[in-house]
């Protein structure tokens, strides 16, 4: 089928999935606990106060109406008001999101680069010590809880060696004026070199932590793909023509692996966000993850709902983009 019809059908498919997702979140966070407002006060509240509270947040309306308000709200980008401070949740989410974006992008970059590189080395040294150690490395990094790794790195590089800072995004004294919310970019925009360097120094440990835990899957993907491709006839034929090792690895073998790697980035995005929540908590990184955890401890259920929906939407968007990109790049679909 042509690219156009594929894109259209893919987008159309997203709509029911979106509905399912939103309904699911609504069921879990609004319907299941019974009365979230009551839960917020831990059942210890004056009925009048409770009534006023619910009215303010729109929680006194019939459930079905709440459901539709919720759906329309999402489409408008309105996630309701926080139970904590009655501020619009959307604004709070957008405030904290750029920090998470910064962390996750760098972490994914790290994971992919390291993962692909190690995967190539592994494949080209098939069944040797190098290969097996890299494979073990990949398996072990998957089994380490991301926060444990983070703490160990903090211990080594922060507390013992004093090389890198162990928390937050930047030294508060160097904080640049907020433009995008991403401290590294804001520093560059403000022309403040020292701030930039400091921001990068703060970024290194969290990004490496999150990236390391995710790189295992890229190592394995690249390795499997390379091994398969390197054994194929056209690779041996290329070798028989005397093409260089470099050409063969990159132009022949890796090119074949490129699309699966792209797809995997999309698939891993969900895991990336999950890991980000834990990483942010470990490193006191002021992003959406710490926001979520904070709101949980305060039983701010409207904020929790908004954040969860936001995460879900994000994953869906990324998956959609990756699918379309894949269709565009795969010559078999394109031609």
């Amino acid at each position: 089928m042509s690219l156009r019809s594929y894109v259209i059908s893919r987008i159309l498919l997203t709509i029911p999935m979106l509905m399912f997702l939103l309904t699911l979140v609504f069921l879990i966070l609004r319907v299941m606990p019974g009365d979230p407002a009551l839960l917020h006060f831990e059942k210890n509240v004056d009925p009048e106060v409770l009534a006023e509270f619910k009215a303010r947040l729109g929680l006194d309306k019939p459930l079905l109406q709440q459901y539709f308000d919720y759906l329309f709200g999402v489409f408008r980008g309105d996630f309701g008001l926080s139970m904590q401070d009655f501020q619009p949740v959307t604004k709070q989410i957008l405030d904290r999101f750029p920090a998470t974006l910064e962390l996750t992008v760098w972490a994914m970059l790290f994971a992919v680069i390291i993962g692909v590189f190690l995967g190539i080395v592994s494949a080209k040294n098939y069944d040797t010590f190098k290969d097996n150690s890299i494979r073990i490395f990949g398996i072990v990094t998957y089994a380490i809880p991301v926060f444990f790794l983070g703490m160990i790195l903090q211990l080594i590089f922060g507390t013992y060696l004093h090389w890198l800072p162990t928390g937050s995004q930047i030294d508060p004294r160097l904080q640049p004026p907020r433009v995008t919310g991403m401290v590294t970019i804001d520093s560059l925009l403000a022309g403040n070199f020292y701030a930039f360097v400091d921001a990068v120094r703060h970024l290194i440990l969290p990004a490496v932590t999150l990236g390391t835990v995710l790189c295992g899957i890229f190592i394995r993907l690249t390795r499997t793909n390379m091994l398969e491709t390197l054994r194929m006839d056209f690779v041996v034929a290329a070798e028989a023509r005397g093409l260089s090792d470099q050409t063969i690895t990159y132009r022949y073998a890796l090119k074949n692996a490129f699309l699966p790697i792209l797809t995997m980035i999309g698939l891993q995005f969900a895991a990336l966000l999950a890991g980000a929540v834990l990483t942010e908590t470990t490193f006191s990184w002021n992003g959406l993850g710490t926001y979520l955890v904070d709101r949980i401890s305060r039983r701010d259920y409207t904020a929790i709902q908004g954040t969860v929906v936001f995460f879900g939407l994000l994953v869906m968007l990324v998956t959609l983009v990756v699918d379309i990109l894949y269709a565009y790049l795969d010559p078999r679909i394109r031609l």
Binding site: D233, F234, V236, A237, E239, R241, G242
Partner: protein, 333 residues
């Protein structure tokens, strides 16, 4: 005219989990210049391994464990700042970088399956440009493209099709592209590994004829690997019969067909249908090819040989001159 290639006592092993399989056991053949040597035998007998050993691309887990492959170079090889002077070199011990230079320039290899031998992600033109610029970095892309056009033209492929992808060509055309790539740099030795096995009979005949013409035109020396004796009858000057990694018989084509010496050769020939004798009964060889992880002390063929004696069981027959003028490894001689 001397020998272009001389394989001496070549032994190749495949080291697998189940054991070590001897794919080639002390094989020696010589290849005079401008001749075509046919390598024939059953599947898995080692003929492909021999071809791959010469170009030193034995697939994992295969290893060359002994012997020499003497190749006579016409030019010096320069690589990494080192020079290997022209003359005779042992391909087994040649450094990989030097070997890489040889591949494509001096020795070319054509694979069996044209459907999978080309990179599906790049155009035909790219294949040629890559090849030419890798071996001659001074050549510009335009020059390389021109050259590619010429070659394709001589193969009967329209130059406009140069920018197409491999999957847009038919099997026969793809094989021609492979041949074009193989001969683009004017190598001296061409190894064709079952070049027509996956093509239909008519295309097969065309391709083989074209290869033979090219051989004449460019003064090539060729090794033709196939299990199809009929093909060798038409296109080979000398034929080597390989069984279970060992050379059984070597003779010029006419002699081999008229006066076969080795029992295995005779059995093979009687299994080939003859158009002139439609009533001829097709014979088959009882038994199965041996397990190469357990090489026999004596002759590898003796379990299936109608003429086997006690001596065949314990003593491996050496390669000796046969009454017909070729070489044979059998205790009968």
């Amino acid at each position: 005219m001397g020998d272009l290639l001389s394989v001496r006592n070549l032994t190749v092993e495949y080291r697998t989990r189940r054991g070590v399989a001897r794919a080639l056991d002390n094989v020696s053949v010589s290849l005079p210049e401008n001749t075509t040597l046919g390598l024939a035998g059953e599947s898995g007998c080692g003929k492909s391994t021999l071809g791959r050993s010469i170009i030193r691309l034995v697939p994992y887990p295969g290893v060359i464990v002994g012997g020499e492959i003497i190749f006579s170079l016409r030019n010096d090889i320069e690589y990494d700042g080192q020079v290997i002077p022209k003359g005779e070199v042992d391909l087994v011990t040649l450094p990989e970088e030097a070997m890489r230079k040889l591949r494509g320039e001096e020795i070319a290899y054509i694979f069996q399956d044209p459907m999978t031998s080309l990179n599906p992600m790049i155009t035909i033109a790219d294949h040629f440009v890559e090849l030419i610029t890798t071996h001659n970095p001074e050549v510009t892309e335009e020059e390389a493209l021109e050259r590619a056009g010429e070659i394709l033209d001589s193969l009967g492929i329209l130059p406009e099709r140069m920018t197409d992808y491999p999957h847009q060509f038919s099997g026969g055309m793809r094989q021609r592209v492979m041949i074009g790539l193989g001969l683009a740099l004017r190598p001296r030795l061409l190894i064709a590994d079952e070049p027509t096995t996956s093509l239909d009979v008519i295309v097969e005949a065309q391709i083989l004829d074209e290869i033979t013409q090219l051989k004449e035109k460019f003064n090539l020396t060729m090794i033709l690997i196939t299990h199809n004796l009929g093909v060798l009858a038409q296109h080979a000057d000398n034929i080597a019969i390989i069984y279970a990694g060992r050379l059984m018989e070597l003779a010029d084509t006419e002699t081999l067909f008229e006066n076969p010496q080795h029992p295995y050769t005779k059995a093979l020939l009687s299994a080939v249908p003859d158009v002139r004798k439609p009533e001829k009964k097709l014979a088959w060889i009882p038994g199965a090819p041996p397990d190469l992880t357990k090489p026999l002390e004596g002759c590898m063929y003796h379990p299936r040989c109608p003429m086997a004696t006690d001596r065949c069981r314990v003593e491996q027959p050496p390669l000796v001159k046969s009454p017909s003028g070729g070489l044979v490894a059998c205790h009968l001689y």
